[in-house]
Amino acid sequence: MTKPSPKEIKAMTDVAGVPATPEVAERIANSIGPAFEGFAPVAGTLPFDLEPASFLLVQTAKVST
């Protein structure tokens, strides 16, 4: 997974309806870059039928008594 470039971020913020200036887009790219890099080993590796609600199943299955 690659982190979005300032140019891509500019386009995304435009689509979101909260346009960023090129300077702000550059700042955002620098700020969120580490999160994309940190998550890169996970991105694109998850099984097809895994859904977010699996979190609740794990959470309640592990209650200590």
């Binding site: 997974m1 979005p4 891509e8 971020i9 995304m12 913020t13 979101a16 309806g17 909260v18 960023a20 702000v24 887009a25 700042r27 955002i28 790219a29 700020s31 969120i32 580490p34 999160a35 994309f36 890099e37 940190g38 998550f39 080993p41 996970v42 991105a43 694109g44 998850l46 895994l50 859904e51 977010p52 609600a53 699996s54 979190f55 609740l56 199943l57 794990v58 959470q59 309640t60 592990k62 209650v63 200590s64």
Partner: protein
């Protein structure tokens, strides 16, 4: 009874009022006296409602004299982070945008404390919209650490940490989305409980991230936190995400010992690059826990950096979605740093956000497998004690972003996993700043954390130390 009622613990003052050893008015006046003394230096309160508090205290005393107690916290004055809706009161959320917002409902957590008999002292300062870890607030000023007013309180529950530490309120609600209860507890030397996602209703609490937000108390001790959690936890028809699991007897849990318990300490990440004084406190705490009968065992965890990254992706996206309307209509009314953090969420693709959400279950399962056989994990809240306000001011310090990244490193993984964590005061630096450590437990096992925390606090006095007025 303490010579000064405001210095009593929550549990002690509630008992003293119930037995009419002290009146609610005396207690409320004692708190207001300390507030008047400390507020100019700390900026911990957003609003101080002295007359209304005294009137409510008088009503509580009259009711009690007539044999009518409202509950286990009858007549106890408290103040909370200014993000809990309280019908008829302004709830600023630490922001300019909500400076005049008057709530029309009362949050479930707050209502349950009111139903137990608490009275309102006012409201406490916080980071704008709870989106920042240091305690800075460009609209209302930084909250200051009572142990050294040049240092940060941590955030976003900055007023809660500062006010409880200075004994201006017996306890305070905070909220923890990325560390916002545990960091102020650590930096200010109080006990703070981040609850399991779903343990306490979030109805009427200002949202920051629906997947990560948790409601919890800051107080003097684990016992105080247990009392508050027992009153607040449980299902709520106003919040379908609030768990229907039974609420344990948390106060009973605090009477347990450490004998036979296994406490895990990680071999990496949470013990890397620690300030020498935080490392010393960790060693001393492990020694105390062992002396009290616990076994300390090493645990090897999955890569925690990935959890931090996933937490950032979820938090940034959900916060941006919540604030989008105001980002369009009123961008000038945000503080620059908070607006910048919100803008970050606009640049995260939906697929990436959903991947981060989908991974949460497997990530929690892997973490729980790694700590299997232990009763809790002990780690620092942050690798450093409280930084100065100047060095962590993003607008004025080149080093600030590095400080912020450092102090949030050990809290965000726990938020992503939705686990409970209890921050307890465990020592002090040579310069007199508190150091807290966090006990991390299994989902919905706050009782175990409170048991360990209370046993540790019976063996130590760090939680009872009070900063001195200059």
């Amino acid at each position: 009874m303490s010579a000064e009622p405001a210095l009593m613990s929550l549990v002690a003052v509630a008992k003293a009022i119930a037995t009419r050893e002290v009146s609610s008015r005396e207690v409320t006046r004692a708190c207001l006296h300390r507030i008047a003394e400390w507020q100019p230096r700390l900026n911990a309160f957003m609003a101080i409602e002295a007359e209304a508090a005294l009137a409510a205290a008088d009503a509580a005393d009259t009711a009690l004299a007539g044999g009518n107690s409202r509950g286990p916290l009858h007549g106890v004055p408290l103040a909370h982070k200014d993000m809990y809706y309280d019908a008829g009161h302004v709830v600023t959320c630490g922001s300019l945008i909500r400076r005049d917002f008057v709530a029309t409902t009362t949050s479930t957590a707050l209502q349950r404390l009111k139903d137990a008999g608490t009275i309102r002292l006012g409201s406490l300062q916080m980071v704008e919209f709870a989106y920042g870890p240091t305690g800075h607030n460009v609209h209302y000023g930084a909250v200051r650490n009572p142990w050294n007013v040049d240092h940060i309180t941590g955030g976003s529950s900055s007023g809660s940490g500062s006010a409880v530490a200075a004994r201006l309120t017996f306890a305070a609600l905070g909220s923890d989305t990325g560390g916002s209860i545990r960091m102020p507890a650590h930096f200010c030397g109080v006990t703070g409980l981040k609850t399991t996602v779903g343990r306490v209703s979030r109805a009427g609490a200002m949202p920051l991230s629906q997947s990560l937000d948790t409601v919890g108390p800051l107080a003097q001790s684990a016992e105080d936190c247990a009392l508050l959690l027992g009153l607040m936890a449980g299902a709520d028809p106003e919040d379908p995400t609030a768990s229907t699991l039974p609420v344990p007897d948390y106060m009973a849990a605090t009477r347990g010992s450490l004998k036979g318990l296994k406490i895990g300490v990680p071999t990496a990440f949470y013990v890397d690059d620690l300030d020498s004084e935080v490392a010393r406190v960790l060693d001393e705490t492990m020694a105390t826990l062992k002396k009290e009968g616990a076994e300390i065992v090493k645990v090897e965890l999955p890569d925690q950096r990935q959890l931090t990254a996933a937490c950032q992706l979820v938090l940034a996206t959900e916060a941006a979605a919540l604030h989008k309307r105001w980002m369009i209509e009123r961008p000038q009314d945000y503080g620059a740093q908070v607006l910048m953090r919100l803008q970050n969420g606009l640049a995260i693709p939906a697929v990436t956000y959903l991947e981060a959400m989908r991974w949460r279950g497997p990530a929690l399962a892997a973490f729980l497998a790694a700590v299997a056989g232990t009763d809790a994990m002990l780690v620092p809240v942050a690798p450093i004690p409280a930084a100065t306000i100047a060095e962590s001011d993003v607008g004025n310090s080149l080093n600030a972003e590095a400080v912020i990244q450092r102090i949030t490193r050990f809290t965000r993984p726990i938020n992503y996993l939705g686990l409970p964590a209890l921050s307890i005061p465990c020592g002090f630096t040579k310069n007199g700043l508190p150091v807290g450590l966090q006990l991390v437990g299994r989902s919905f096992d706050e009782a175990m954390l409170l048991r360990i925390g209370a046993a540790f606090q019976r063996a130590t006095d760090y939680h009872q130390r009070v900063p001195k007025a200059a």
